[in-house]
């Protein structure tokens, strides 16, 4: 057997390692950031406030991207992400808007009639649970249909994209819900940037949630059987099945987790919207989330991808958007630039991979 007794050189090994993938993306992020830092007048782009703002803005894509990373590593796709975020947003505000006894409290009605006024601690907690649970249930439904009926993920989630969006709209009676203000969920992303100076937390809670999620998922992917099975299923499903990997259960879990993270992203989106339950929010988000995952180094054919990469991908997209906005680019230019970057990122990746192998 022609086993190679010579280990490849240090450079080759570095270029081939997973860290090189992450490093390349960090460099890309710094380049994009540097470009806007230099172009935006008066150094406004790199003030601490703006940096914090970038993190805040990337939190929704980043958090939803955690679940999407798993889905894409497992060679699947989830188009219902935007709808699940909206469902979570609506579910949160629906619970917060519950009136005592009869149910529906009208806008501007007696504040004391609200459930949340009577239980200021319990109600927001229940609202959070409801939002996350609703999205997780939607994710479970995706997984069950894909695994149980053996349908293509693209088709199933194309369908549930509509179904879940409809559910959100129905729950909100096709109107925005304005729950009572001042709950801590609304402050999750610190949307007005005017709240009391944060003493020890430094960053909005939502950003910390994202960070914790990244670390948790990176750990799960690397150190649990479930995590390794996600890669195995995406790399070669038949082989995984033959080797006794519980393929169905793994996929079900992957889509449920995607729903879960969309639910969490929905909490952030709720806060971001100024504590309003908008059933039409998050439209097209699936595309940005997918873009973040792909820029982050995942392959549509499965078996490849990392949550750290996805985080960087989400940051790149946010920097592009925020930078374009602050440069005064019209919206259509921004959209074209981001579209171009996605294609460029994947093309560069392919080129680099071909050279490394």
């Amino acid at each position: 057997m022609s086993t190679d007794p010579h280990r490849p050189g240090l450079f080759t090994r570095l270029a081939r390692s997973a860290w090189a993938d992450i490093l390349a993306r960090l460099v890309a992020l710094l380049l994009v950031f540097g470009f806007f830092a230099a172009m935006v007048d008066g150094g406004k782009f790199y003030t601490p406030r703006n940096l914090e703002n970038l993190l805040r803005q990337s939190a929704v894509y980043g958090t939803a991207g955690l679940g999407m990373t798993l889905v894409i590593i497992a060679a699947g796709i989830d188009l219902s992400v935007g709808s699940m975020i909206a469902l979570s947003v609506v579910a949160v505000s629906w619970v917060l808007n519950l009136g005592v006894g009869t149910g529906a409290a009208t806008i501007g009605g007696d504040a004391a009639a609200y459930f949340v006024s009577q239980h200021p601690v319990l109600a927001p907690l229940l609202a959070c649970l409801a939002g996350v649970a609703a999205a997780t249930a939607a994710g479970l439904a995706n997984g069950s249909l894909i695994v149980g009926l053996r349908l293509a993920p693209f088709i199933v989630t194309l369908g549930t994209m509509g179904i879940v969006r409809g559910l959100a709209k129905g729950l909100a009676h096709e109107r925005d819900i304005y729950p009572p203000e001042g709950t801590w969920i609304g402050a999750l992303m610190d949307p007005t940037l005017t709240s009391k100076p944060r003493s020890w937390t430094l960053l909005p809670t939502g950003v910390w949630i994202l960070m914790a999620g990244v670390i948790l998922m990176a750990f799960i992917l690397r150190y649990t059987r479930f995590g390794r099975h996600v890669y195995a299923v995406g790399s070669n499903e038949e082989t995984a099945r033959l080797c006794g990997v519980p393929v169905g259960r793994t996929k079900l879990m992957v889509y449920a987790l995607c729903g879960f993270f969309c639910g969490v992203a929905g909490l952030m989106q709720f806060s971001y919207l100024g504590a309003i339950g908008q059933p039409v929010t998050g439209a097209m988000y699936e595309l940005f989330v997918i873009a973040a995952v792909i820029i982050g180094g995942a392959s549509f054919r499965g078996g490849e991808g990392s949550v750290l990469g996805t985080l960087i991908g989400a940051l790149i997209i946010t920097v592009l958007y925020a930078g374009g906005q602050q440069m005064g680019w019209p919206k259509w230019v921004q959209e074209m630039v981001i579209g171009g970057i996605i294609i460029l990122a994947v093309a560069l990746d392919r080129l680099r991979h071909r050279r490394a192998t």
Binding site: M1, S2, T3, A232, N236, T239, A240, L242, C243
Partner: protein, 504 residues
């Protein structure tokens, strides 16, 4: 090696009168087979003889309709491939079953990972995987290497290591050498002998009877879904085995009627490709078959690809008939040149489409009014080829993927005939197909040559080249030797040229 005692020990695996039918087709009509521990049993038979169905029954992919199977004396009836794997029956298919993105150790221990406290224990993984890797001769490989970085031969060893790590009792190898070099084959055979000494029963499926003679203790022949004979390889000649396989003696496997070369059709001068070939010159006349021998990776396929416009030409001239210069594949087809790829599954054929679609793919003109294509005419155009070659199928609309390998290859060849090309570039035209189909293809080549067409064949199977060709050139490290007349060639001489020990 074969046990000669009067009371043989309990066989490792025993199949008795196993039957399986699919709809109207009786795929297996009574297969009986035994393998002892520490024995290598070759399973031979034409494609369509039922080997793959038998393997699927053994691996649990299909459930037998009738008959019994025993593993070490215990009834064995797998309902699922995982069942078989757990019972210790490991299959190594031609198409390897690996997760390319995962590391070697993860592939070996897929589904049985080591954990501690619910988390993957990477050091235990490495330890267990390394033990299995040592057994199959992969000791020098880093267990963390992603499998897609390995050569095919090494990937195959990783799969065998997986079987070893699971302490398999029966190892089934399906055409394991089809994409290996000579050196890798020798390594594989050493490994098989080592596993045999450990008491593993090996079922070895191959079309190469030389290999069967070399590695197997006994053989079982399958024909039309039935086991028709079994014996000790050391006491049986290849000719006898072939006779059992085809049910008749193949006297003239290689028909070679008297041919008279016509005018020059292909003239290659100092052709050089991107990487290979380095230098290739040849002349091919109408009514002539020219063979190209050489080791795998010598640059033979690359020469055909450059010639056909699939790869760039760096240097040299190509003249086809009166046309000089490089051309795209589409232009080559209009110059009446057709190519048959060595990889029919990936390059050569569209397995999801019908036979008719595949045959007419290169030449859809004249199948309808104007530039339109009428399905009925498309199908009718294929009927003569289906009959003449012949292609065993339900009709021109049948999905190509449902045919056996040999019949698929005939469809690939029929495409060249339908396009009515004058120059046929055939890359490994009989790789992995059964003897019967081979005979049909050889007969067809002979017939085409008599009609004044020219054939360029690349093959790694020397008896085939010696049987079919008029002249044979040898490619070695990208350089093509001058062609020798076939009466001046011997396998020995060609092999010397291919390995660079002699220059012609």
């Amino acid at each position: 090696m074969p046990p000669a005692s009067q009371t043989p020990p309990t066989p490792r695996l025993q199949m008795r009168a196993v039957r399986k039918r699919f709809g109207a087709t009786q795929a297996l009509s009574g297969v009986t087979l035994t393998v002892a521990p520490g024995e290598v049993m070759a399973l031979v038979g034409e494609n369509g003889a039922g080997k793959s169905t038998l393997m699927k029954v053994l691996s649990g992919a299909h459930l037998a309709d009738d008959g019994e199977m025993f593993l070490d004396g215990q009834p064995y009836r797998p309902r699922h491939p995982l069942d078989a794997r757990r019972a210790g029956v490991a299959m190594i298919y031609q198409e390897l079953s690996l997760a390319p993105h995962l590391s070697v150790m993860e592939n070996i221990l897929l589904g049985v990972e080591s954990t501690r406290g619910g988390l993957i224990d990477w050091s235990a993984m490495r330890r267990r995987a390394s033990a299995a890797m040592r057994e199959v001769g992969l000791a020098t490989l880093d267990a963390a290497t992603p499998v897609h970085r390995l050569a095919i031969a090494q990937q195959q060893l990783v799969e065998i290591a997986r079987a070893v790590a699971l302490e398999c009792r029966v190892l089934v190898l399906d055409e394991p050498t089809s994409s290996l070099t000579r050196h890798d084959i020798a390594t594989l055979f050493d490994l098989i002998r080592r596993l045999r000494r450990q008491g593993i029963a090996v079922i070895y499926i191959s079309h190469f009877l030389e290999e069967v003679q070399q590695i197997a203790d006994r053989f079982t022949v399958l024909r039309d879904g039935e086991s028709v004979g079994t014996g000790v390889t050391a006491e049986t000649s290849s000719a006898q085995i072939i006779a059992l396989m085809v049910g008749r003696t193949v006297n003239d496997l290689y028909p070679h009627t008297a041919r008279t070369p016509g005018p020059l059709l292909l003239d290659l001068q100092d052709l050089a490709g991107r990487d290979k070939p380095v230098q290739a010159s040849l002349q091919l006349h109408r009514g002539e078959v020219l063979g190209v021998a050489g080791l795998i990776g010598a640059g033979r396929t690359e020469m055909l690809r450059a010639l056909f416009g699939l790869d760039p030409v760096r240097r040299g001239t190509i003249r086809v008939g009166l046309v000089q210069g490089v051309a795209s594949p589409a232009q080559r087809w209009t110059q009446r040149v057709g190519m048959l790829s060595e990889d029919r599954k990936r390059e050569g054929l569209a397995l999801n489409l019908s036979i008719a679609d595949n045959i007419t793919l290169a030449s859809l003109s004249g199948l309808g009014p104007g530039r339109l294509v009428r399905p009925s005419r498309q199908q009718r155009a294929c009927l003569p080829w289906i009959e003449k070659i012949p292609i065993k199928c339900a009709g021109p609309t049948q999905r190509l993927g449902d045919l056996s390998g040999g019949n698929q290859q005939k469809v690939a060849l029929a495409r060249l005939l339908h396009a009515d090309v004058d120059l046929l570039l055939l890359d490994e035209p009989t790789r992995g197909i059964d003897v019967g189909s081979k005979a049909h293809i050889y007969r067809l080549i002979d017939e085409l040559t008599r009609q004044g067409k020219a054939v360029l064949i690349v093959s790694s199977y020397l008896p085939e080249l010696l049987g079919v060709c008029d002249r044979i050139a040898v490619m070695c490290r990208g350089r093509l030797s001058t062609a020798l007349a076939r009466q001046d060639c011997t396998e020995h001489r060609l092999m010397e040229l291919a390995t660079g020990q002699e220059t012609a």
